[in-house]
Symmetry: C2
Subunit: 196 residues, 2 copies
């Protein structure tokens, strides 16, 4: 059975984007190494460290479906109509966008909340993992006990302000068990299991 994994690049002060969704500074590490790195569904070649590339390639190859939120969908402009990692995307929203409905759409919109979205994604992923994106979706999933692992690419910087990944979690303290820590010059990969 696959795991549900929240995976994000985050600054040391906990931000996953600037106040206006800027991610340029945070993702500098995507251009900091000397090893070519491709994200399926993204038409661009990045440059990261060899260890980082090996690690991410392996982890991302385990993802069989994605759950994310409407904000993520809108901010990314529907990822240019592509499926990141080439896997089915389940997008939690109250109001599915009319222009992306229909048989041709690569996206599935889920109006019944995160539990349903994760259940549908797990069914689609089979033995593989479900990746969870969108800070509000992750927060809802953490509160519902739906996250099995947290995978942080800790960017070596303080952003000072922006969108926090771990917010609105009062009364939801959670212990983590280290799975792996991978130390590269510009980013530290932190991989944890949620203790349930």
């Amino acid at each position: 059975m696959g795991k549900t994994v929240a995976a994000f690049t985050m600054s040391l002060d906990g931000f996953i984007a600037g106040p206006n969704d800027e991610i340029g500074r945070l993702y500098k590490w995507y251009f900091s190494g000397d090893t070519d790195f491709r994200v399926p569904g993204v038409d661009r070649v990045f440059k990261v460290s060899q260890t980082g590339a090996d690690y991410l390639k392996e982890e991302w190859s385990k993802i069989g479906a994605m759950v994310t939120g409407r904000r993520d969908f809108d901010v990314s402009n529907a990822w240019g109509g592509q499926l990141i990692l080439g896997v089915p995307h389940f997008i939690v929203t109250h109001q599915p966008p009319q222009e992306w409905l229909g048989e041709e759409s690569p996206f599935v919109f889920v109006t019944e909340g995160v539990e349903t979205a994760v259940a549908l994604a797990k069914a689609a992923a089979g033995d593989k993992n479900v990746g969870v994106g969108g800070s509000q979706i992750v927060q809802q999933c953490l509160k519902a006990g739906l996250i099995d692992e947290i995978q942080i690419e800790l960017a070596h910087m303080l952003l000072g302000e922006g969108i926090r990944l771990f917010d609105n979690l009062a009364d939801y303290a959670i212990d983590l068990e280290k799975i792996e820590v991978i130390d590269t010059p510009d980013v530290t990969h932190l991989h944890f299991r949620v203790v349930k």
Copy 2:
């Protein structure tokens, strides 16, 4: 010339204490290893990993003076009247506590702000480093460009709520350079240089 180092145990979600200054859960890693670990000025023996103990013993031996804030002083009940790490303490406050003034007091109270406190602490530390504690003091020092290094003992947990170390820093984005990452079962030691 010594460095000015902000050193804290912090949860993955950025908290250095709970909403009522609780630190029990956050500091579980002080009791998680099998190597005796003593903090000079604290009458207690902790148990951490061998690598963690070696690292902290070395880093803390470099500290020659401390700067912290009145809140830290009050919450800790003046550290029981002891000097943590056995070094001079400079406490930034608007109103020095009368009961701790006088020749016998182990503490120096500084009413002129963080710049003065850091300058006094540097003079006292000589070639050694100055440790900076107290989240508000660290934030003021970061804004004033006074911090050279950040040393985070990343506790493997989400606290959900409490006192954030990196807060109130809008417009103060800072790049960090990795000095060292030390990976132990219950805490990840992250040591960064502030890029100025």
